[in-house]
């Protein structure tokens, strides 16, 4: 009897499975049609980093302490700064980010004493060469302005 019983329960389970997928066939799809629609990117999203400018003065908030460069686990930040004659503070000459080695850990942003860097929301980067992702953040920030 168990021979027929097995066949019966097996067949029932198979039909139940068909029911699940059959039901899904008529349910709405969950696809977000990407280039036409986009998912809400959360504000906390970690893209590559960007320099923050002071809204009042228009200058970079960066104080060139070099902590981000020091803390970065994969050494993807290199800062050059100089102290112009007579000036009190150091000025940022270049802020290079090699995004291709970044692990998006957030150490730089959290460690920054001046809140001078933030994560961008560039979530769909792609390019033809890796040099495209060696960002010159100073230039980038100026262009955006």
């Amino acid at each position: 009897m168990s021979y027929f019983g097995e066949i019966y329960t097996g067949a029932v389970s198979l039909i139940a499975g068909l029911g699940v997928t059959g039901k899904a066939l008529f349910q709405p799809t969950v696809t977000v049609q990407y280039p036409w629609e986009t998912i809400d990117i959360t504000p906390t999203f970690r893209g590559h980093i960007e320099l923050v400018t002071d809204e009042e003065t228009g200058n970079f908030k960066c104080i060139c302490c070099g902590l981000c460069q020091l803390n970065c686990p994969s050494h993807c930040i290199s800062i050059k700064s100089s102290k112009p004659e007579g000036a009190k503070k150091k000025a940022l000459d270049s802020y290079m980010l090699n995004f291709t080695t970044c692990s998006l850990c957030g150490t730089c942003v959290e460690g920054c004493p001046a809140d001078a860097i933030k994560f961008s929301d560039d979530y769909n980067l792609a390019g033809f060469s890796r040099e495209e992702f060696y960002f010159d953040l100073v230039k980038r920030a100026r262009e955006e302005k």
Partner: protein, 191 residues
């Protein structure tokens, strides 16, 4: 089946680098090139990029997620993940290539029939990523050191949108124009 014909129209010059073509050796340049036929073929190739089921590390999960319901790569005809390199057009190098894996990656690339393309997905495949440190002994610093890479998708790992964007870039590279609109970026407050 027009074997002669297919053998001629193998690869569009400039699609993979000449070094790559020289390395493979088998790929003969077309004897007669008909611009119209080439264009149609390239259009078809661009819209039917079958990737290889080939994941190395973390990025492979995001590659899978790109094929899943939410992002659905199949809209662009690219969901046919072929497990055999012989049937694939596109190699998505998704993850770190270790020195032990490098020969296998090269073999897989060589096994693919031309024309073929490579997307380096994620920072590891681009340059070694976070595993790059002074005195590292285990990884290849970027897929480009082994095989010609067409498109780079940075991130650690990139979001699925990034990979889709990479596929669009590849289509752009094959046909010379971008088909789809550029996604309008919008930052939202989380739901």
């Amino acid at each position: 089946m027009g074997t002669e014909d297919t053998k001629i129209k193998l690869i569009k010059p400039g699609v993979t680098s000449p070094e790559a073509a020289a390395k493979i050796g088998e790929v003969e340049p077309p004897l007669v090139r008909l611009a119209v036929v080439e264009e149609i073929l390239n259009l078809c190739r661009a819209n039917s990029l079958w990737p290889m089921t080939f994941g190395l590390a973390c990025c492979a999960i995001e590659m899978m997620a790109t094929g899943m319901a939410r992002f659905d790569m199949s809209r662009f005809g690219a969901e046919v993940f072929r497990p055999s390199p012989r049937q694939a057009d596109l190699m998505i190098v998704a993850g770190t290539i270790s020195k032990k894996m490098a020969p296998a990656v090269v073999t897989l690339y060589d096994q693919m029939p031309a024309p073929k393309w490579v997307i380096a997905m994620g920072n590891c495949a681009i340059s070694g990523g976070p595993f790059l440190f002074k005195g590292q002994y285990g990884i290849i610093e970027g897929a480009v050191k082994l095989i010609p890479v067409d498109v780079y998708v940075p991130g650690c790992p990139p979001r699925p949108e990034g990979l889709l964007e990479g596929i669009f870039k590849l289509q752009e590279k094959i046909t010379g124009k971008r088909f789809w609109p550029v996604a309008q970026r919008k930052s939202h407050v989380a739901k």
